[in-house]
């Protein structure tokens, strides 16, 4: 790609979804007179008597949390999916619907209310990863669960209603649309080359070194070529594996380590507890073999210019397609140069 090209509006192709995104590199010069986000207070106690997720506290459902000391999982008190329900298919002309069942859980990362991933110990993040593995195996092995979505909404800007460090799991009967897209495109590549699409992609990225943010023995963090969110990143295992259940002990540590360093860089970017949604993409649990699937984790952070100015995915983005201002290469360079020591500790 010519250096020139990269400075002008262009479109990039997302090999995982088969969709294009619009990049407008010149547009960062725009002054911002719009909305400034409020920043939630960042100092929190280790225990909050009013928190639904702290050990020993009563939840909204009336249940009481145990005095947990390790990552702790429970059924979401306001699950979007329920295990039981009438099984029905609707096909009335152009009205099409079908019942859906599933299980939603909450994963508390730590008993300590004040923590977040970047300030947790690597060893404690390993425990979170093991909990995710356990849940993926437990839920995924059930006959009525064909997909397990593990994710974290961090920060009230991302709709998170409780600052206690936690993530969610929504597991369900059907395979959601975004996962279907990723399956289709990985499968096309696999069928043609008998190689992982993301494995081949990773090779190209490691060769170019333009979008790499972090590397260790087992994992790479990069800004995808087709990133949508300003500082979007992807964590990719070097080894082609379908799901986190396949992580070895050493890989768990490497994963925890890169998770910590990436989230430290994020916090350092605008010296704030950085909001994002992160999600673990892995093979559907339909019972079929999915050799094409290459597990990866995405981070979609909303902030664009500072801790109070975010990127709005609104009119054009909703009706036409995704659009971004800074290029993936600029974002990667910025993230790469940030220190790996948390700003609060300097």
């Amino acid at each position: 790609m010519s250096k020139e090209f990269n400075k002008h509006p262009h479109r990039r192709f997302n090999i995982l979804t088969g969709e294009w995104i619009l990049v407008s590199p010149h547009r960062t010069k725009r002054p911002w007179q719009g909305r400034l986000e409020k920043v939630a207070g960042e100092e929190r106690p280790s225990y909050d008597v009013d928190c639904f997720l702290c050990p020993g506290n009563k939840r909204a459902s009336g249940d009481t949390n145990p005095d947990y000391e390790e990552p702790y999982t429970f059924k979401n008190d306001f699950s979007a999916l329920l295990p039981e329900g009438p099984a029905e298919e609707v096909q009335e002309g152009l009205f099409r619907a079908s019942s859906e069942t599933g299980i939603c859980r909450v994963v508390c990362f730590s008993p300590d209310h004040s923590l977040t991933l970047p300030v947790m110990e690597v060893g404690d993040i390993v425990k979170v990863i093991r909990k995710w593995k356990e849940e993926y195996a437990d839920l995924g092995s059930r006959e009525n669960i064909n997909h397990v979505m593990i994710f974290e909404n961090k920060g009230d800007m991302m709709g998170c209603s409780n600052p206690h460090p936690h993530g969610q799991i929504w597991s369900q009967l059907s395979v959601p649309v975004e996962v279907q897209k990723k399956t289709r495109h990985q499968k096309e590549h696999w069928d043609q080359h008998k190689r992982s699409l993301l494995g081949d992609y990773l090779k190209q990225e490691l060769d170019k070194k333009e979008r790499i943010v972090l590397e260790n023995e087992h994992f790479v963090t990069l800004v995808p070529y087709w990133a949508i969110w300003p500082y979007e990143t992807m964590i990719l295992p070097r080894r082609h594996m379908q799901h986190i259940g396949q992580l070895s002990g050493r890989e768990e540590i490497a994963y925890a380590d890169i998770l910590k360093l990436l989230t430290i860089k994020y916090d350092n970017l605008f010296q704030t507890s950085f909001p994002y949604s992160s999600g673990i993409h892995q093979q559907p649990t339909t019972g079929e073999d999915h050799p094409e699937w290459h597990f990866h984790m995405s981070f979609y952070p909303p902030l664009l210019r500072s801790k109070t100015v975010k990127k709005f995915m609104v009119g054009y983005e909703l009706f036409a397609g995704p659009q971004r201002d800074i290029t993936a290469e600029e974002a990667a360079a910025t993230l790469r140069e940030l220190p790996v020591v948390h700003y609060s500790k300097i």
Copy 2:
């Protein structure tokens, strides 16, 4: 559909995009301890000396607005798309990109800084519609413009950086991904039945009357069966037409009228100047015939429970697929019952 079915989690199919959405009707009981949005001050003067869009004022670019009295259009000073640029295609292994050109414009709806669509006169909204027609014809007729996206981001919650009543137009060389989906699904139906997909859909909706919000001689407003946003609506012309250029004089008035009444209902819902993104979906301007296209307008408002609590499209929604809490039928019933006189005038 059984009444029972509708109270349990289910999925619905979007006939325009071919994608499913998850509905969790039981979930509205969830208490909200999360982020409360700030509400921008709603009283505004008719003229603001610091506004880039008011008549006679200097814009960010240094240009001066004329003393306009009717809807006024100008080139966006921070256009995401530019008319010129190096034409290049990139295909380097799995990296795929291509240059993109286009024209971005701003449409001021009125010289009066204090207005919004619901408080404008129908006759003045007709002038906005005529301006949209003019722009669609002018931009769409150009050889390098194959799609014209007309939209409005209203409210700072929707990334709008200036409260002066205005919308935008992003027109470009390639047909964006969401438009391609809608073309594909409308075309399939057209090829099979030689009838408009949305025409057939509208018949079913008028028959059911469960999701209708407003009707007049030429237009219907409804909550689509597959709506994603809590109070999402669609304005549909009864007559099958491909684009707004085909609106007759009487249809322009009916369109203006239903636009005013819908936005009044929206403002009345939470007694606030209701934020939304709206977009006009019409046939691409590739020069080819698109008999399958049925022009329609979408409103995507973010608010869920009150003027300060919005629906967050985050973790699950971004990584798996869209999810909503209240059903389309409940939303339609709520909107239907709201008065058509603006709350500020009662």
